[in-house]
């Protein structure tokens, strides 16, 4: 019993930085996992990666003007991310071009611009450190930011839930009964940017993109409804955070990759053992029912 306590509870009970890391990553799971589910269902799973590059010019401008401070850089990143997301979304809605191509074009332009701006200041080591921060060094400012983002995201998802589902499931139907279709897409893109940008600077790119997509991808193998899928993704995200932080503490591994690898293990298990995974859908067919 004591050994169990030493393994599972003590690291969080004894160290403030572990508590902060746990709180921050759990809050991020709560808000970004459901967003990831919708990204996946819209076949925009790689958007997170693209956005990670797209925020660079905004963060760089914040850095140039105010130095290494999380708030101006977050706001700058948010603005750049939203410009890219809305620009790419608008091009795909108004022209023949699909969202994957317009997103690629916009983020590449943004990335090039960001690298140019960063080079104005000479060394970019500090900037990179803050851009791709670490979960073990969360201060109050960063925790507050993540909490705010989680609140805004959950409120946004709650209000627009029905429209989000309708827009994914049957966009033409939504257009025929309501004018909410295009706006809800942009609201959703804004939520994606909000979660990614906040996450990047508090926790690092890998952690925020990974925590958004891996639990969602894993949850897909277990259920055929959206609501349970979102809840399951949040659960998988939370378990991965706890497991990853413990792993990182006991084995002295970097925390971000530990959390994401934990989620990766859940994903791998889900592919094989999920109710809609390989075993259930491919291997069970030795016998079949009469009707």
């Amino acid at each position: 019993m004591d050994a169990l306590y030493q393994w599972l509870i003590a690291p969080f009970a004894e160290f403030g930085f572990m508590q902060r890391a746990l709180l921050g990553s759990l809050l991020l799971s709560l808000s970004s996992c459901p967003v990831g589910v919708f990204l996946m269902l819209r076949r925009m799973s790689l958007t997170g990666d693209a956005m990670a590059h797209a925020i660079l010019p905004g963060a760089a401008v914040g850095f140039l003007l105010f130095g290494l401070a999380i708030v101006p850089m977050t706001i700058g990143g948010l603005i750049a991310g939203i410009v890219v997301a809305l620009g790419a979304g608008a091009v795909s809605r108004l022209t023949v071009q699909r969202e994957d191509a317009s997103m690629a074009a916009f983020y590449l332009i943004s990335l090039a611009l960001g690298v140019l701006i960063v080079s104005l200041r000479g060394s970019s080591v500090d900037l990179m450190h803050v851009l791709f921060g670490t979960v073990l060094a969360l201060n109050d400012e960063a925790l507050g930011l993540i909490g705010l983002i989680a609140a805004v995201t959950l409120a946004g998802l709650g209000i627009f839930w029905r429209a989000l589902v309708a827009e994914c499931l049957d966009p033409l139907f939504l257009r025929s009964v309501s004018r909410l279709g295009p706006p809800v897409h942009f609201v959703f893109l804004a939520l994606v940017v909000l979660n990614l940008v906040g996450g990047f600077q508090a926790l690092g790119t890998l952690l925020s993109v990974g925590l958004m997509m891996l639990p969602a991808a894993a949850a897909r193998f277990w259920t055929v409804r959206v609501e349970p899928m979102c809840l399951l993704a949040i659960g998988i995200g939370a378990v991965s955070c706890i497991a990853g932080l413990l792993l990182s503490y006991h084995a002295a591994l970097p925390s971000g990759p530990s959390i994401i690898l934990s989620a990766g293990v859940v994903y791998a298990v889900s592919i094989i053992a999920g109710t809609r995974g390989i075993v259930a859908t491919r291997l069970r067919h030795a016998s079949h029912r009469t009707a």
Binding site: L41, F160, A163, V165, L169, D170, L172, R175, S178, R225
Partner: protein, 296 residues
């Protein structure tokens, strides 16, 4: 004379300044049941999109009576069948006009959904995921959603595609019930016998209206012959129809969608042989048109 549900005045719809529905005039009476008939590319689906408002007119206007609730069942649904939803979830989308974004779904709403599923013969399928349904079952699910929408004007674009005979009979009965409830129904259909047997009125399109009125008279042999004599491929060098046609700024994206539909739906028409007509680099000469005609 019943009041009009839809009034067309010089209604012209199209893509890339080429009309697909040209100068349509007339009215659809409230409580009428009209079949929209014509060859591939004659503008049937385009007309439906124009009435719903998904496609903006190039000229003229289409006035839908004030306060009319529209239900639209497109030919090529943008439905994502891999989306994790059940039959009952899809049918419940039909509650949108009544409950909107935030309104609670009440017990009577759930009952309406259950009744609609029963009415299309899908009892017991409520909890089935969409990706396990057959094409016909999915179509009936979409019919159930139209039922739940409780609309005054119902537009069905080729609802009988890939549906077995028994289901067609059931769906036609449903459509007639709608008409009995004084709803206005317009149905795009290809089966002329079905139209003659069940539809009081018909509109025959060949990009422009050929005939419109009592179904049997509209579908008389001479009208059908006239309807066949149109060029499905449009002429890049066709003269401008009127000054206002020239200014029609319209969405480029739709033209591709439209042709995707026409060529993708498996009808053996000559469109496959030469791809998108509007992508032709050289102007369509008299010879080129002759070839189109032959192939058709």
């Amino acid at each position: 004379m019943a009041e009009a549900c839809i009034t067309f005045s010089d209604f012209t719809l199209g893509y890339n300044s080429h009309p697909a529905v040209h100068h349509l005039n007339g009215a659809v009476k409230k409580g009428s049941l009209t079949a929209v008939v014509g060859a591939n590319g004659s503008g049937k689906s385009t007309l439906m999109k124009g009435i719903v408002g998904v496609l903006k007119p190039m000229a003229g206007a289409c006035a839908v009576a004030h306060g009319t609730r529209i239900a639209y069942l497109p030919q090529q649904s943008e439905l994502d069948r891999s989306f994790p939803a059940r039959v009952v979830d899809l049918v419940s989308l039909g509650l949108w006009p009544k409950r909107g974004l935030l309104g609670r779904h009440r017990p009577e709403d759930r009952e309406a959904v259950a009744n609609a599923i029963k009415a299309v013969g899908l009892e017991g399928f409520e909890k089935r995921p969409l990706d396990t349904l057959s094409g016909g079952q999915l179509q009936r699910t979409l019919f159930a959603r139209v039922l739940v929408q409780d609309a005054d004007l119902i537009l069905l674009d080729e609802p009988f595609n890939a549906i077995d005979a028994k289901t067609v009979t059931d769906l036609v009965a449903l459509i007639k019930r709608w008409q009995g409830e004084n709803r206005t129904v317009m149905v795009v259909a290809h089966d002329l016998d079905l139209v003659r047997a069940h539809f009081p009125e018909a509109l025959l399109l060949a990009r422009r209206p050929i005939a419109w009125g009592e179904a049997r008279a509209t579908l008389a042999p001479e009208n059908l012959l006239r309807a066949r004599q149109f060029h499905e491929a449009w002429d890049e060098n066709a003269p401008w129809c009127s000054p206002e046609a020239e200014t029609g700024g319209h969405d480029h994206g739709h033209s591709h969608d439209h042709h995707g539909h026409d060529h993708g739906d498996g009808h053996a028409d000559h469109g496959h042989a030469h791809g998108h007509p509007h992508l032709h680099a050289k102007p369509a000469s008299a010879d080129a048109r002759h070839i189109h005609g032959d192939a058709a």
